[in-house]
Subunit: 163 residues, 2 copies
Amino acid sequence: MFCKNKQCLLGKQERTYKLDSYIDVTIIEKQTNRKYKKMQNFHPTGVCPIRDILSHLSSKWATLILITLNANKTMRFSDIQKSIGDISQRMLTVTLRSLETDGLISRKIYAEIPPRVEYKLTERGYSLIPHIEGLVNWAIENMPMIMKNRKTNKLTTNGQESF
Amino acid sequence: MFCKNKQCLLGKQERTYKLDSYIDVTIIEKQTNRKYKKMQNFHPTGVCPIRDILSHLSSKWATLILITLNANKTMRFSDIQKSIGDISQRMLTVTLRSLETDGLISRKIYAEIPPRVEYKLTERGYSLIPHIEGLVNWAIENMPMIMKNRKTNKLTTNGQESF
DNA sequence: CCGTATCCATTCTGATACTG
DNA sequence: CAGTATCAGAATGGATACGG
């Protein structure tokens, strides 16, 4: 893992600066004198926030659920499913549970027949939204160019420099 | 897909407002009168920027590579590998190619023996960094509480409201 | 209505071996 | 050094059936 410190196997190690709150370390290789920075976990327990949050977003559905809940404030299970459109019942359940476990959404069960369950973002969930929207807006702006790149770069497998 | 418009199968459809540049639509179900907003693709071609960017981040390695390149400016293949620590040669190659195809990084090959290849972020790549750092910093701040939640929520499977 | 359980297909990832 | 090729296991996601 990113987070299991093997220490520096490569040569001298040199503490450098803090960059936006994740810590890195400069590695200098003895033989070649080549240098590079290595991101370092600063939770000695083996929990790496960077990897952890990324693995969360990596779920195909988590972020879409958060966006949907943000837009709707409070939603029932079936409404989330219809809002997203193509998520299976299973994946919706699984993803909601994992978001709940992390305290990003809350679940309220009404003891009625038929049952009703309402989901909404917690405060922590809401605090994540601006960052997600940052990414989303970036994606929207850049998508046209990226699509263009994908097409052209399919062919240019042999250039010296790709762009 | 999120992006293939099935139109509204459910009832009246009503155009609402633009929220941070992704468009949604309010669905009102005829029978129940229940309402929810549905995110709508606004690229009629079937390309959904939201899903696309998310699927990118969902690659286990892409974001770590971007962070590393941002910290180091220019890196050789083997230095990226050592910087990240536990990425296999194969996954590094695969992920670098996909980032290159999308124009987030550039690859420069020096025709030497032994070969040398240097990677760096493109301008577009750099433009993504602040958004990634937003997420990363959020993760770093919130991780302690999230870890706590995970432990406590393991047991409370039966509460009426989870928090 | 809101799940859970089971099974299966697909995708992703890592290990290993080999090349210009 | 910087890859490519191949294969196997793990992780992920979807379809279906059933239950409180």
